[in-house]
Symmetry: C2
Subunit: 273 residues, 2 copies
């Protein structure tokens, strides 16, 4: 069996951690992969721990004992967060995004893996200290952000559908009032999609009145789930009072001037404190 | 400014490459991040190149010259592919997944970031030698696989909608015949979502008759786009003749026995040659 140099093991360890953050890898696993003694692995992990710390990537936590292991918890520094939020503001406020009726075309951004990854990294960083069992979202535009956040936090995702689908099995459906349009809408979630008594993080792309997020929270009650957080990519400044409390937005849409083609979007400054 | 040890730079380089595969990083970028001379970076990259090779992670390609850089192209070995496909077969064929009418509940798997990441790694590996500008999918269940594949291949994703949405701007709509149900359905794609003359990879979760993938291919003609590949996670064995040719499936659903609760799913053995 191959033996690897320390350099190589450090690189490989960092790759393994980076590809599966918030996942506990056992020393036994690393031992097998690298064909090396656990004491060697333990030294390697100590080096990786220091490098993660020095480069401001978050932290490595180690679990000691016979079934010991290590987990990489990415936490983003203010500098990187500022860079990402500034870039997002720039992208979302591009002049040509205004659609008739004062809507903003954002679909390309919410489907762009690089942009979605940056958004998910911030969400995962902000919720890295909270125990979460599932991320919940509602189709369609929020799905990429929800799944990428789930990847970063190492939790499964449940997607609420607008309609009842035969491939979902038994579902729970609720009606809710869309905060912005005052329309009554329906959402359905498969009974199988989450276990009872779960702790869930609600993720969505856009919040105006907060009706959709409130609908998701109401749905969670039907599953005896506890909503431990709500994250949206963009909230509108108006109405200031939303139908949900305690949510985190990354960006705030201050105003749209359809005539002049101006969109004013700023970072949520709470994130930069 | 901080200086880093070689060990640390190797680890950090591998993290950067792993988080953004198929993306060309310039030596200038690394030089700034690590506060090190380009000659040093070049030596570091050579070490990373060897480790990627030795550990069967794919390959690092370097671009020489003043604006030189390096890119990590993950390519999966047979062993890892076999492991992933076996695990997928096991998961998708769990007995309790059978729904009334002979449908299979798969939603939890298609929304599980770890499973979706494994699927996307195989898709990205198989299409790593083809120039792709966009990944195309149709809502809803295929979106996570499409976005994660886009992340691995470093290409944007366009999601075709079942209905026309006001937030999509001007759209192109087509009607298509669903291969399995023989129903006529509609799909719409925003005009802004892809540039003319693009090379696209179609990605979807499930293929029976192939009508949906054919619909997507037809839609691509309206955008003067060239379909350079089609990837689906699961295809059914019957009908053997699909409405599209030249597609790649990861898994083949041989049969469902609703009465006995048996699902027979096997890997697509072409992937393991």
């Amino acid at each position: 069996m191959k033996k690897y140099k320390r350099n190589q093991r450090i690189g490989a360890l960092m790759k393994i951690f980076a590809e599966k953050p918030n996942y506990i890898f056992s020393y036994n696993y690393f031992s097998e992969v690298f064909n090396a003694a656990k004491s060697t692995i333990s030294e390697d992990v100590a080096i990786v721990k220091e490098l993660v710390n020095e480069l401001d990537y978050g932290r490595i936590e180690t679990i000691s004992g016979a079934s010991g292991g290590a987990v990489f918890i990415p936490v983003m520094g203010i500098e990187e967060k500022t860079d990402i939020l500034s870039e997002l503001c720039m992208l979302f406020s591009q002049k040509n995004r205004i659609l008739p009726g004062g809507f903003i075309y954002m679909t390309d951004l919410f489907n762009n893996p690089n942009i979605v990854t940056n958004i998910a990294k911030i969400i995962a960083s902000e919720f890295s200290n909270i125990k979460i069992d599932y991320i919940i979202t509602v189709e369609t535009k929020g799905i990429p952000v929800a799944v990428m956040s789930g990847q970063k936090l190492n939790v499964p995702v449940a997607v609420i559908r607008r309609n009842n689908k035969v491939t979902e099995g038994a579902t729970v459906s609720i009606n809710y009032v869309s905060g912005s349009s005052n329309n009554i809408q329906t959402m359905s979630l498969s009974r199988r999609s989450l276990k009872e008594n779960s702790r869930v993080l609600i993720v969505d792309d856009f919040m105006k009145g907060g009706g959709t997020c409130k609908g998701m929270a109401d749905m969670m009650r039907e599953f005896n789930a506890e909503v431990v957080g709500t994250a949206v990519v963009i909230e509108t400044k108006e109405p200031e009072k939303k139908l949900v409390d305690n949510y985190l937005s990354l960006l705030v849409l201050n105003k749209i001037n359809e005539k002049e083609g101006l969109i004013e979007i700023v970072p949520n400054y709470k994130l930069l404190k």
